[in-house]
């Protein structure tokens, strides 16, 4: 729910409730005042009757008035209690109207009479209705104004917020562009903008530091590795090594090349994650795969792995370097985790590329195979190959999925 919508809802409900309560109080107050006025007018009438009786010693003549009816009835002395009542007012031909009456008594020449004075309350009610109508009108008008205000003014008020949000959405640590300046007089948004800008600066600086550090560290690491490698190459020229020494040298070579690959893999991951490899070119995947299969055929042969490839033409636009690495990783993985006399099935269609291979008879952990440094106990790799493949796919907007259908492990890239 949007803030303005939420705000509107609360605001409207509160307004309506308050208006209704006010209306009720208003209604009560006005009807009290009006009733009081009616009562006073009834008392005046009563007083007039008393005055008339005192002066003339007889009951005044009852005449038909528009809004007032007076009636006298004889009654037992002291049987009538003076009181104001709400009653009906009957006008000829018309529907009964509500009225206010005063019951009183008078003593005329020793005879006791009950006086009933009733006045119509129609006018009062009309008044109340008008007031009520106006109140409702005001409520509706207020609601309308509120809605319009919220629509127009709120959205204009929030505009700086949205522009900050837009900047944040577009923010990339690798970009050199800064957060655009904000033109608003609202303090909160200015504060927010200031903080966001400061944070962006900080993040960028940290990122730059980290990037420089990674690059320098990797560079500094590669230099000694290069020295070790070249010294080993020089060392083996001196010949006449025993078998044991040769084995040691072989292990050293292996360790150095693993170190090299690990370093390169980490660097590559950093580059992919930060989208530093952005070169684009048109690539024919079919040709690339065929080339790779030719390149690796003796490795398949060595493990006696059967390759079956069904390849359709598929052109993509991507970084050649990344696609090379992706294909290499997938196919080499399929060889490495295969067993002797196993098979690899490669399927390239318009929508997907799948590499299936035989291997261990259990499914891999789908959750964890793509995490860094996760590898099976038998693997000789760095545990970064699949992470890199996944990252490459994500950076190209593809999806990499693993599935196991005995006896095949399958990795599928969905374009």
């Amino acid at each position: 729910m949007k803030l303005s919508e939420r705000y509107n809802r609360v605001n409207l409900i509160a307004t309506v409730v308050i208006m209704l309560i006010t209306g009720a109080i208003y209604y009560q107050a006005i009807s009290l005042i009006l009733t009081d006025q009616k009562d006073k007018s009834l008392e005046v009438e009563e007083q007039e009757i008393f005055d008339y009786v005192k002066l003339n010693h007889r009951l005044p003549q009852v005449f038909e008035s528009k809004d007032q009816q007076i009636s006298f009835t004889s009654a037992e002395p002291n049987s009538v209690k003076r009181e104001f009542i709400n009653t009906g007012y009957y006008r000829e031909k018309d529907e009964p109207e509500s009225g206010r009456g005063l019951i009183s008594s008078v003593n005329v020449n020793g005879r006791f009479y009950k006086i009933e004075i009733v006045e119509s309350k129609v006018e009062t009610e009309d008044l109340i209705q008008i007031i009520f109508g106006i109140t409702i009108g005001v409520i509706l008008l207020l609601l309308l104004v509120l809605l319009i205000t919220n629509r127009l003014i709120l959205s204009r008020l929030w505009q700086p917020f949205h522009s900050i949000l837009g900047e944040l959405k577009q923010f990339k640590v690798t970009d050199n562009s800064d957060i655009a300046p904000l033109n608003t007089r609202i303090d909160e948004f200015n504060d927010l903008h200031q903080e966001v800008t400061a944070m962006a600066e900080r993040v960028k600086r940290d990122y730059k530091d980290l990037k420089t550090f990674t690059e320098n560290a990797s560079h500094e690491l590669l230099t000694p590795i290069a020295v070790i490698n070249s010294k080993l190459d020089t060392l083996i020229q001196t010949e006449n090594f025993s078998q044991q020494q040769s084995k040691l040298l072989g292990d050293l070579y292996g360790a150095v090349s693993r170190l090299t690959r690990l370093n390169q893999s980490l660097l590559l991951l950093v580059k992919i994650e930060n989208k530093l490899l952005t070169d684009q070119q048109s690539i024919n995947l079919k040709e690339l795969i065929e080339e790779l299969l030719y390149q690796l055929e003796d490795i398949f042969g060595d493990k006696m792995i059967t390759i079956s490839a069904s390849l359709q033409d598929k052109e993509i636009t991507a970084s050649r370097y990344l696609v090379d690495i992706l294909l290499n990783n997938l196919i080499i993985n399929a060889v490495r985790h295969n067993h002797e006399d196993g098979e690899i099935i490669i399927n390239l269609t318009e929508d997907s590329l799948s590499v299936k291979n035989t291997g261990e008879n259990t499914s891999l952990d789908n959750e964890r195979i793509f995490t860094r440094f996760h590898k099976s106990s038998t693997s000789e790799g760095s545990g970064l190959g699949l992470t890199i493949s996944k990252q490459i796919c994500e950076s190209l907007g593809y999806e990499l999925v693993y599935s196991y259908e005995a006896p095949h492990h399958s990795f599928m890239v969905r374009f």
């Binding site: 990797s218 560079h219 590669l222 230099t223 590795i225 290069a226 020295v227 070790i228 490698n229 070249s230 010294k231 080993l232 190459d233 020089t234 083996i236 020229q237 010949e239 090594f241 078998q243 040769s246 084995k247 040298l249 072989g250 070579y253 292996g254 150095v256 090349s257 693993r258 090299t260 690959r261 390169q264 660097l267 580059k271 530093l276 490899l277 070169d279 390149q295 690796l296 003796d298 490795i299 042969g301 060595d302 370097y321 090379d324 690495i325 290499n328 080499i332 060889v335 490495r336 000789e380 790799g381 760095s382 190959g385």
Partner: protein, 225 residues
């Protein structure tokens, strides 16, 4: 061959010098940008091994100076920087090749030989070793004048061996040369053995001598002993 090694890392510089000097190549070494600049103004080399990050300046600027003066020296950039931009920048500026550290000295030697051959013979040249003769353009091999059919990898292996003749080449170096550094199967080098066996067999069947010697489990050596 006359080679200039521009490299600030002493250990690496010495190893390269030693590796190249053995086979009768003349090597000069410098460690700084200024020294390198001075050298290239005075002398010509068949190939310059150029590190990019140098004390005092960038190897790229030395490359620019070479090109600005139209000096014909071959240039092989050796650098630990391997981003595509760096590679392209180097190659666009006229470097002949780009090798990323760390590398095997045998790989470096093979690349340098290729550059020098290209410079000297304009690419269409024949590589001779005793009774072996390889036409690098046509990619054909003759032994004592008889053509022998080699696969692409066997040919690449033979050229690699001849470029490093007299040197022991580690199995790692051979694997990385044939399959690229993407290959990550360090513990299984049996497939190298089968290639070497084929090369050896093909040469011998055509009446050539066996020049390939195994150096225990460590590697192989191509030599005329």
């Amino acid at each position: 061959m006359k080679i200039l090694i521009v490299e600030d890392e002493e250990g690496l510089r010495e190893s390269i010098e030693e590796y190249f000097a053995d086979a009768g190549n003349i090597c000069e070494t410098v460690a700084t940008y200024q020294a390198a600049l001075a050298k290239i103004q005075l002398y010509r080399y068949d190939c310059i091994l150029l590190d990019i990050t140098l004390p005092g300046g960038s190897g790229i600027d030395i490359l620019k100076a070479l090109k600005a003066n139209n000096f014909p020296d071959g240039v092989l950039i050796i650098s630990a920087k391997n981003s595509l931009d760096d590679r392209l920048q180097g190659l666009d500026l006229g470097a002949d090749d780009y090798l990323v550290k760390p590398f095997h000295l045998s790989e470096l030697k093979a690349r340098v030989s290729a550059i020098v051959r290209r410079k000297m013979f304009n690419g269409s040249n024949v590589l001779n070793f005793n009774e072996l003769s390889i036409d690098l353009m046509a990619k054909t091999v003759t032994v004592n004048g008889t053509p022998v059919k080699f696969t692409r990898k066997e040919l690449s292996l033979l050229i690699y061996f001849i470029s490093n003749k007299g040197k022991v080449i580690s199995k790692n170096a051979i694997a990385e040369h044939l399959w690229g550094d993407g290959i990550d199967m360090a513990n299984n080098f049996d497939f190298i053995y089968s290639h070497i066996k084929n090369v050896r067999k093909k040469i011998m069947e055509a009446g050539g001598k066996d020049y390939i010697y195994a150096a225990y489990g460590m590697g192989y050596k191509f030599a005329d002993q």
